[in-house]
């Protein structure tokens, strides 16, 4: 396969996966009873596009399955078949099988044919007979085509394509089955005549009963860049006119169905977009990062400008301000390229809730909010699995069976609420259910059984909840294939930590549980607060700082060598950076420096530094790239003066306190 073909193939696969997602989400909204034509149409088009493209790449298994699928959808579309729960489940299952097939194509692996075959049998069983019969019958019912209306509008620079249109028109006339050809030529330009430009367009009407493909074949060599082609079948019932193809006449049917989509579906404003490889964007992010550093380097000279003559100084300052503004704007827009709506992760959930609740005979409503909240693509990719896991858990362990709920005075139908929103410098994702809550006594007992806790050990409620994140921990009485194997919550927490985020659980017996995930807005840039310890600069994530205080001598308490500070009525632990990092640097007397009060998760503590300096945005550079992970440090950054400064990892600092 040549390289170009490989690129097309990749694009096709990407589009097909998107198509599957669209099919899935539409199937889930498909109400039972008389089919909603609009929704069925959307599903049909997705399947059809997939089938069309598959022909180009010789994906025979895919063509066969989508073909049967189409037949079934077509019957629904034309109102011959009602949507039943069974139908819908089978259709959903076939989406899964299609996904298996596509994944196999993508990874060049053998296809699990047994699944494909059994799916085909299932679909055909619904169709009540062999697929071939039904399609033949359906074809017979199609209105008879008696000819085509063809419009050809060559672009201005059509001649450069070197394709002789007249020859094509002659060939059209010679196509088998075509009786008459009427060609009308019209002027296609309102501009002044230019000798190199093609200013003519052709309206052709052919009569005869030929397949659309035959007509498309004639114009195979034209593409939307050089000549716009539209072919409309003329049927006996002239009302059933449908624009079938535009752009490339011989294009895959995917092209055709898309056009049909715009023609028939409710007009929807769609933003145009292009596919760009992530590595290109990352390169750009890096470059903008450099620019930010260079800009802050320059801006330091702005302060020195006063020594110049007054006019120059003003101009220089103005210029520097401009650069700063533009750099900031550019940075924001580059970062926004990496941002994607969280709906990409959320969209998988309805299906999961649907499947799992069906299996467990539970009634569950999934409410999703804030699907348009944007998150970094990397975050999004790593977030999906943890979300799936928590949702499965909520459905499996959280929500009770309808009868149990009723007995407890709750509505039969449980609710799982998945929401995303911005709060401070974070993205917050919450999964809230109104189920049974976590049985803390059970968790405790289990912890004692597996030896994580000692009998009679006094632990806070919070610590008990934390135990669910332990590896190999599950309180489900029965291990189902949904959950209960105890692998998962530890992975969930690890994944979230890797993203620099935190996860918290609140639960109330009988009322339900809330899982709260907090993630940094972006992985590359941080709003930082600079602090000095001796001659070293450390950076605090600004969002974590609650306040900073000048320690008063009578508020400092020493307990077994550990220092506490009384902040209003609460004692908070103190971390001394020079001790923590083993640096013989900076002030030792607490009253001589500053206490930066920070909040990390639900922990509040004071970090002792000499002084605070400016606040600024910093570009996070990983220390792991050329070194390794350092405890207490989340990364490094390059300051305006070109030196490197360390960014504090407050989560790790806070762990040191316990």
């Amino acid at each position: 396969m040549d390289e170009l073909m490989l690129v097309f193939r990749q694009t096709y696969l990407e589009e097909s996966f998107e198509g599957l997602a669209a099919m899935e989400s539409n199937l889930l909204t498909l109400p039972e009873g008389t089919p909603n034509t609009e929704v069925v149409n959307t599903i049909f088009r997705a399947a059809h596009s997939m089938k069309g493209g598959a022909g180009t790449f010789g994906f025979a298994e895919l063509i066969h399955l989508t073909h049967i699928l189409e037949t079934l959808l077509d019957e629904m579309r034309s109102g011959k078949r009602n949507v039943t729960t069974e139908n819908r489940e089978t259709l959903l299952e076939s989406v899964d099988v299609l996904r298996i097939i596509l994944t196999a194509y993508q990874n060049a692996e053998p296809i699990e044919m047994t699944r494909v075959k059994s799916m085909e049998v299932k679909l055909e069983a619904i169709l009540g007979g062999s697929a071939a019969d039904i399609t033949a019958a359906a074809a017979a019912e199609k209105p008879e085509i008696i000819g085509y209306d063809i419009h050809l509008s060559p672009s201005d620079d059509y001649f450069e394509s070197g394709i002789d249109l007249i020859k094509l028109l002659h060939e059209l006339g010679r196509t088998k089955g075509i009786k008459n050809t009427i060609i009308n030529t019209r002027l296609n330009s309102d501009k002044a005549l230019q000798i190199e430009h093609c200013v003519l367009a052709f309206d052709v009407q052919v009569e005869g009963s030929v397949e659309l493909e035959q007509i498309q074949e004639v114009f195979e060599w034209l593409d939307s860049d050089n000549c716009h082609v539209s072919i409309t079948p003329i049927t006996l019932q002239a009302t059933a006119k449908e624009v079938v193809s535009s752009g490339t006449a011989g294009a895959s049917s995917s092209e055709a169905s898309k056009t049909a989509a715009t023609a028939t579906a409710a007009p929807q404003q769609q933003e145009s977009s292009i596919r760009v490889s992530i590595s290109k964007i990352d390169q750009m992010v890096d470059m903008v990062g450099e620019l930010v550093i260079a800009q802050s380097m320059l801006s330091r000279f702005g302060a020195l400008a006063d020594q110049l003559n007054a006019t120059w100084a003003d101009e220089l300052k103005e210029g520097l301000l401009d650069i700063e503004r533009h750099t900031r704007a550019m940075q924001e827009s580059v970062m926004s390229i990496r941002m994607m709506p969280i709906s990409f992760a959320f969209n998988r959930m309805p299906r999961i809730v649907h499947d799992v609740s069906g299996k467990l005979e539970k009634e569950i409503e999934l409410v999703m909010e804030g699907e348009n909240t944007e998150v970094d693509k990397t975050v999004l990719e790593k977030l999906t699995d943890p979300l799936v896991h928590i949702i499965r858990n909520s459905v499996d362990h959280g929500i009770e069976k309808p009868d149990v709920r009723e007995a407890n005075g709750k509505p039969r139908k449980g609710t799982v609420r998945l929401s995303a929103f911005h709060a401070g410098g974070n993205i917050v994702i919450q999964i809230k259910d109104n189920g049974a809550g976590i049985r803390l006594d059970k968790v405790r007992q289990k912890a004692i059984d597996v030896g994580v806790l000692l009998e009679g050990q006094v632990v806070s409620e919070k610590e008990i909840i934390d135990l669910i994140f332990h590896a190999g921990f599950s309180t489900a009485d029965v291990v189902t294939d949904v959950s209960g194997r105890g692998v998962g919550m530890d992975v969930v927490r690890r994944n979230i930590r890797e993203l620099g985020g935190t996860i918290e659980v609140q639960t109330e017996q009988g009322k339900g549980s809330v899982f709260t995930i907090r993630l940094p807005l972006t992985l590359a840039i941080l709003d930082g607060q600079l602090a000095k310890v001796g001659d070293e600069t450390y950076i605090f994530p600004l969002a974590s700082i609650v306040e900073s205080v000048l320690p008063a001598p009578d508020h400092i308490k020493s307990v077994k060598g550990n220092y506490l500070y009384r902040l209003r009525d609460v004692y908070i632990p103190i971390v001394r950076l020079n001790e923590f990092f083993n640096r013989p640097n900076g002030k030792t007397e607490l009253t001589a420096g500053l206490l930066v009060v920070v909040e990390n998760g639900d922990k509040r503590f004071g970090v002792f530094v000499d002084t605070l300096e400016s606040q600024q945005q910093v570009v996070i550079k990983s220390l792991d790239t050329n070194y390794r992970k350092v405890n207490g440090i989340s990364g490094a950054t390059i300051m305006g003066d070109g030196r490197v400064a360390m960014i504090l990892d407050l989560t790790e600092l806070s762990q040191e306190i316990d």
Binding site: E536, K621, N626, N631, A636, G642
Partner: protein
Amino acid sequence: MEENKQILTFILNNEIYGIDILRIQEIKDVEKCTPIPNAPEWTLGVINLRGSVVPIFDLRRMFFNYASEEGVIIVLRVENGGKSKVVGIVVDAVSNTEFANMTELQPAPKGDVHSAHVFVDGLVSIDGRMVILTDIDKINFFRE
């Protein structure tokens, strides 16, 4: 093995060492590093190398127990756990680029002080002088 390998020679503890020239990115003066918390004392810290954060290791402190304000940083590529990293090593001075005849590579004599150096590949003689060839990947810079 290719016969003639181009190497960069440098001085460490009054002896001549050689390193594969293809590993080397650049040579620069010693500059002030930002210390890495809780790192061994031979890890001087990190510097900003045109936007990259690069750790600097002082081979003199690491293997010969002496420190000096003088010195040169050799920035090079090392392989560590399947990953390629850029690091700087501090040596006393850089001397020359030479061709080492690899067919004449002698193993470092056993019991010799040099065999204590994990990174010694062997000895070659260039213009009558003994050069200690090094395999930089054998040094574990990243241990705690």
